[in-house]
Subunit: 216 residues, 2 copies
């Protein structure tokens, strides 16, 4: 059954033809991403925030969304909160599942980009291979990697949810930056040092970059 | 690491507080779905087209998107084409995988609805239990089930991709409506008889319903 759902969904063009033949009126054609972008006055893109826990990824993503919302820009924030509890609630935390988690996130990014939306994705995403895979899922130039950089000591000091404390007490065994590696981006589109910049300056840096790249 | 990504992503509020304390300026708060809806002048919803292969689900979804695009309405079309080749490319066609396929589609619907977008979902989705599960994933009233109804003989006669022919020749063993059941919606929000209505009338019916429900 389902192997055919694909085929069926591809049949719009043919159906259009058949329907026309039968004197029915079908619009048929799909609305493309560029049409949507033209309509709304900005491009779609994936802005991918990667960095240690506590570096400020989600805050930065949500802050940007607030600003872009006021400008009428279409955005979505994707983070562990809405992914791990929903789309990836069936996944565990072993190596395979962690890769699968980010693969699915990448596929969702693709759907949003195709719909003309700017994705603000906030994931620790410690491994280069996973980030590069997501980059490869969207058209060239549409993946903007933002390294939300902050020294471990500062992140640990912020420790907003007491996670680092639980790591140090041995309650959590594996944690990025401590017992598990974080592979910093080698050549990210943007690097934001959240221990040096205010949030205003941090978001402004991203906004400037998006404007410079013609996304906004 | 990843068990904590969830926690980290929830830490925005706390970080906001800490940052404020440090005389930094963080906007913090998330932009809600209702704010997005208010900004764009229409509500979000899931319009779920279910029906036999060849009944016209994808055509109807794409046709509606064309019309809504011209009205500046934010939409996305989800169908087997962009789901089975991407997000669910790891899934097979056994019973478990078919349920998982629609569970993920439901989760993606949720993300788009949260982002203020009207989802036009075209899936055979033959089983009530799967459709009801998706209904349960979005806020009450936001799931609009449209039964794209068309007699099997008509679908088989249209057979745009020659699928039914392959079923009849025995090349395809299991197919909805022939060797596998299609559980028609008992009380769908809308029923469109595509063998009786023109496409114009069909799309108009959906548009009228969306207006009546206050989505548009």
């Amino acid at each position: 059954m389902n192997s055919l759902e694909q085929l069926t969904s591809k049949s719009a063009a043919t159906q259009t033809h058949e329907a026309t033949t039968a004197n029915l009126y079908w619009h048929g054609g799909k609305v493309t991403r560029s049409q949507k972008e033209a309509n709304q006055g900005h491009r779609a893109a994936v802005v991918w925030f990667t960095g240690l826990s506590g570096a400020g990824k989600s805050t930065l993503a949500n802050d940007l969304e607030s600003i872009l919302y006021r400008r009428g820009v279409r955005t979505v924030v994707l983070d562990g909160d809405n992914i791990r509890h929903g789309l990836c609630s069936d996944l565990g935390f072993g190596a395979t599942d962690r890769h699968e988690n980010l693969r699915r996130v990448g596929e969702v990014c693709k759907l949003f980009v195709e719909a003309g939306v700017i994705v603000l994705a906030a994931f620790i995403s410690p491994f280069r291979v996973d980030r590069e895979r997501v980059r490869g899922m969207v058209p060239h130039g549409d993946f903007i990697e933002v390294h939300v950089n902050c020294p471990l000591e500062v992140c640990e000091n912020r420790d907003p949810k007491g996670i680092y404390r639980r790591v140090r007490s041995g309650e959590i065994l594996e944690f990025t930056g401590i017992s598990s590696p974080y592979e910093a981006p080698i050549n990210p589109e943007l690097r934001i040092d959240t221990n040096k910049l205010s949030c205003q300056a941090s978001t402004q840096n991203v906004l400037d970059y998006l404007a410079q790249r013609g996304v906004l």
